[in-house]
Symmetry: C2
Subunit: 682 residues, 2 copies
């Protein structure tokens, strides 16, 4: 441990407590305690080039205890990480300036309260909701292994990056972290290292009051290697632990660090150190204790920046430029693979990928949208080799298995497999998929729609991060039938649709499924939720009806009144579109002019120009009936004051679907009746 | 193991496979494998009286692998469990008849696809979504310990019941179960026994493909005792394991049972046994293998019912009547405690409890609704001694600690404590609170509103079960400020409001908080979500404005135009009500007649007679402006076609609140402007 080591560690601490103090808001405790560990990792081990923070084979650093963001901001500042925009191009200016640090937690600062992906370069994933970072890191480690299996060649070890995640007691208590740790242990992800900041203090007090399990023993049970550091300030021990991790080839590693929250401050080892500034006097006292000038704020001692440049900076530059040279040679030897890899990095798809998409002939019997989606997914995945995913132990039901040649399981001995078995771990499934998407693969995961509840926090993060994770949900309504109300979603559609930036698709038939995938596969910044049926849906006769390509506008006129303006509009999604069509035919036979609007994606429809929206839903036609086997919540926007919503007002029930449709009123007769009454009401 | 033992076990198996076969739907695999374990528990150990399935000191049996519902239905049928209505009165008729079994999974059968609380007597909690049952069982065990500490007296061991939960591989993989197990281990709940049905088969295949951790070692790490049964058909071993559990006084117990899914059937040990009937031939072959008459469906051999009557029936009756005798004597010795206990069982509150509720004087500075709620909660809890709860490690922020005399922490050595430390385990917090509510205590748990996402599946179950769990959420909007978008809820209100049967309250000031608790404390069948602010809210001047008691109607006119009908209505909830009032004053000064409607609980408002709803929101007044710092999703219902919603269309940002209010347009000027434009538009 040199003087410059000590000085660097304490410089980080000084910057962190100053940033929190100036903002009068934030979390100084963890940065004070973990600065030596983060410093050692970055300065001595992390294969990361501040000049190119998106170099594909960089080690990933995830700050799962995201409230300690000041720690990351200090590192980005001190190592001079450059800006990237949006995630493809490295720009010259620094990601975090001293002014950013000084405006920590202020509007538009690059140093917000928690790390936000895309907002600040060098942030590998958005963190703050506890457990999410570590769970996401498992996806990054999977992606690393998969990329290695796909692209590495003899003498071309293109991918061998490691993934580090810093986690606190909170992360260790969260269920999503447990799920992810169990999966990582099974998958033997030896490129994964979680660093457990065990300071034994949480917001309510000492962990003695609620968290007395043996974490090390638990991780051993998951199949991890566990190593312990008794003193978070012992840089040599810390280094030895990272060497141990690097030498491990069969298991993920947990480094358990006994640390002191608020180290050096008057509130060291107290919950008070967690989430509030130390106060001007506390900051001064701490600086004195650490040998920093007590009156200098945001102090950057001479030599520290240069020290980082000679450490992580020089190492990172050498590794990165060496990698680029290797890649140039690789491009000569394997041009197709090189091209593929570059497309992946730019989030582009192979030329002509759309030609693989099937079309489905009209068929009154039809097939479940989970089945058609399974077929289309296979076609997409065949055309786009970096589409991969799996299910939370429901693949035979969600139909998401890739079955064409060359797709096997992703397992410890089979890293090129494209089918993952996530296990009965919905929350980790979504978080892991996010980690894979952050590594620029095109992942999907699947489950029943009801279980989107389990994964909501990770689904939200995919939207907040603007990454194209594909969430596939089948068994999307009372169409589940006999499994009953515990398995029949009601309010889930509303919750997903209310999430900013998430595209929610509920296609009506196989060809809308095709169009859904056409949109979804091409997404680069938006996650999607596919909401699919368990039960068969007729494949609509597109010769008589509008083309399914209307899906791209979110909603479109599927069937219309013979001439002139309709008297009533029937709006529906998914399985209820066929029902609306049947009602439409009944009404037409009676001489009532009705229109059927298929509305598979509200979010896309809301983005269309008003002109188009008014074409589909003319303001003058105020008699509208919406039909959806879900909560009515949210539909008022489209049916308006004059409309009626045929939806669910209670939970479902356990019975064969046919009985449920009658019980809850989802029959053509009922819909036609409602429409008829509406027309008659004047 | 007697012949009658064997016959009883195989009778259960026969009934289960017949029920699934007749329904042509369901899950036979687990009942076949676990019938001997369930049989042994019920027949030899469970202190449960089929004639009175709500006897307060009964042992609880939770079928956490709820898809195996046929197993429970068979047991309820064979033991003759009586019906309860709604949860207070035992009726004479059996809970499950042979006809019910024969109509398994059909509409209105008492044998639905998954166990549903209230629907079928003998079901202690609704299960099916994996992990929920075991997590809920922890709450029941906590409640058992707490009831014992409060009510037991020398010679009056009123409460010493045990809680058993049957869980499969799926439950063991779910994060919520991990959280709950860690908490149960910490709390040393030796009255809790989880039985792990380790059949090593899940829907996607053998657990080898994704679940290879050492579960026993993991539970030892949590601080549990673990015992293993190598053969699920070995009744003596099973009995010995239950004796071991009963002898354990310091730790929860995990009984790990090596079982065979679909035991005896042609698909034994295969994923095919999980979720589909065996087929007529498969059923016959299985019956032959088990020594049952292959052609007799729903076969009840002579002597089996009587055998159950002499086992669990006689034991249960003796224990229950003994307990009642003891309780009679207890009533004489401790009349007040006896009265309290009877109120708890009937979900009634102490007489005059409402007199404890405070009122808050008008105060422009005011206080955060989390603070006022903390005060009111303490008043309620003082008046209602069985109100208890805690937070997912956020008590200092959510202000939910009970601080008056006699309330300490609930801990291993302190079972009468009323403050629980749930740890950073939101999902388990909600599920544990559900378990306490099912034991008829009045529990609450708290967290930030954003983390309701983590707990949504358990919140939903409280609504589905119609139990009065209180979910307290603070930091309810961009009002969170500097913590930024990861911590600022946007779509959470919509997701909660869309949930059938959940009452969602977002009170505007301290006195609406009082009225919220007045409603919430008295709930007997409905869960509530309290949505509270981090930032101070002015305490409104009720001399000038309408009384806060209007909250009971869900929405009410808080301030009105000086005379006649208003030109525009401003609707708001929570922190935005004061904002609407400021805009209202601005408009009034300009001579624009506006009305302010406070709308703290949509669900209650929707239940009011149309006349009242039209008084508050006259159909003729179509110019309406809703203001809420959340997703606009759902508000269209109240603002109508002529209205405007001032809400969130994106995620939030990290900055001090004042800056965020300007950035996102939540200022009186903006709201007045929107209203003015609306009025001007004609």
């Amino acid at each position: 441990m040199t003087d410059l080591d000590t000085l660097s560690v304490n410089t980080i601490r000084g910057l962190c407590m100053d940033a929190v103090q100036k903002a009068n808001s934030g979390h100084p405790g963890t940065p004070m305690g973990m600065a030596p560990v983060a410093y050692t990792l970055w300065q001595r081990f992390l294969r990361f080039d501040p000049a190119d923070p998106i170099w594909p084979n960089r080690d990933r650093f995830v700050l799962s205890e995201g409230h300690a963001s000041a720690l990351l901001w200090s590192l980005l500042y001190l190592t001079g990480v450059r800006t990237v925009d949006p995630e493809y191009e490295v720009l010259g200016r620094p990601a975090v300036t001293l002014d950013d640090l000084k405006s920590f937690r202020q509007l538009d600062s690059r140093c917000p309260g928690h790390p936000e992906y895309r907002w600040t370069s060098g942030v590998e994933t958005t963190t703050g909701p506890l457990g999410q970072g570590v769970a996401t890191s498992v996806g990054m480690a999977i992606a690393g292994r998969w990329l290695g299996a796909r692209f590495n060649r003899p003498d071309f070890p293109l991918f061998d990056f490691d993934v580090y995640a810093l986690a606190g007691d909170g992360c260790m208590m969260e269920g999503v972290a447990s799920e992810a740790a169990s999966l990582a242990g099974h998958l033997r992800l030896s490129n994964l290292c979680w660093i457990y900041d065990s300071n034994r203090v949480t917001i309510e007090g000492h962990t003695d009051i609620t968290f007395t399990e043996d974490v090390a023993a638990r991780f051993l049970a998951y199949g991890w290697n566990v190593t312990t550091i008794a003193d978070a300030n012992d840089l040599d021990r810390i280094s030895r632990a990272f060497h141990t991790f690097r030498a491990e080839t069969a298991r993920p590693t947990l480094i358990l660090v006994h640390s002191h929250i608020g180290y050096g401050s008057p509130v060291e080892d107290s919950p008070k150190a967690h989430g509030a500034p130390f106060g001007p006097e506390g900051v001064k006292a701490t600086k004195r204790a650490l040998g920093l000038p007590p009156d200098a704020d945001f102090h950057l001692p001479d030599g520290v920046s240069d020290w980082f440049a000679r450490g992580i900076g020089a190492r990172g530059a050498e590794l990165r430029t060496g990698w680029e040279k290797m890649f140039d040679a690789y491009r000569g030897a394997y041009p197709d693979s090189a091209d593929e890899l570059e497309r992946i990095q730019r989030r582009e798809l192979p030329d002509g990928w759309e030609s693989a998409l099937p079309t489905f002939p009209a068929d009154p019997k039809g097939l479940a949208s989970r089945d058609s989606s399974g077929q289309v997914l296979n076609a997409v995945a065949k055309a786009v080799p970096w589409v991969l995913g799996g299910s939370a132990d429901l693949t035979p039901s969600t139909k998401t298995r890739l079955t064409f040649g060359g797709t096997g399981d992703f397992q410890p001995g089979a890293r090129s497999g494209r089918n993952l078995h996530f296990g009965v771990r919905e929350h980790a499934s979504a978080a892991v998929a996010n980690g894979m998407a952050l590594t620029k693969l095109r992942p999907y995961w699947s489950g029943f729609l009801i279980f989107s509840d389990y994964a909501k926090a990770a689904i939200r993060l995919s939207a907040l991060m603007e990454i194209p994770t594909v969430h596939i949900f089948t068994h999307d309504s009372i169409g589940v039938g006999e499994d009953g109300p515990t398995h029949q979603p009601v309010e889930q559609l509303a919750g997903l649709r209310a999430t900013p930036g998430l595209l929610v698709f509920r296609p009506a038939d196989a060809n809308e499924v095709v169009e859904t995938w056409r949109v979804v596969a091409a997404l680069r910044r938006e996650p999607a939720a596919l909401v699919l049926s368990r039960q068969p849906l007729p494949t609509l006769d597109r010769d008589r009806l509008a083309a399914a390509s209307g899906l791209a506008w979110g909603a479109y006129v599927l069937a219309d009144a013979p001439s002139g303006e309709p008297e009533v509009i029937l709006l529906a999604t998914g399985s209820e579109v066929a029902l609306a069509l049947a009602a439409h035919e009944e009404l037409t036979a009676e001489g009532i002019a009705s229109r059927v609007v298929s509305m598979p994606c509200w979010e896309l429809f809301d983005r269309q120009p008003q002109e188009y929206r008014h074409q589909v839903l003319p303001p003058a036609v105020t008699r509208r009936v919406a039909v959806e086997e879900g909560s009515t919540f949210g539909w008022d926007r489209y049916v308006g004051d004059g409309g009626v919503i045929v939806g669910m007002h209670t939970f479902g029930a356990s019975a064969p679907l046919r009985q449920l449709l009658t019980k809850f009123g989802f029959t053509p007769e009922r819909v036609a009746h409602v429409a008829r009454e509406l027309v008659a009401s004047g």
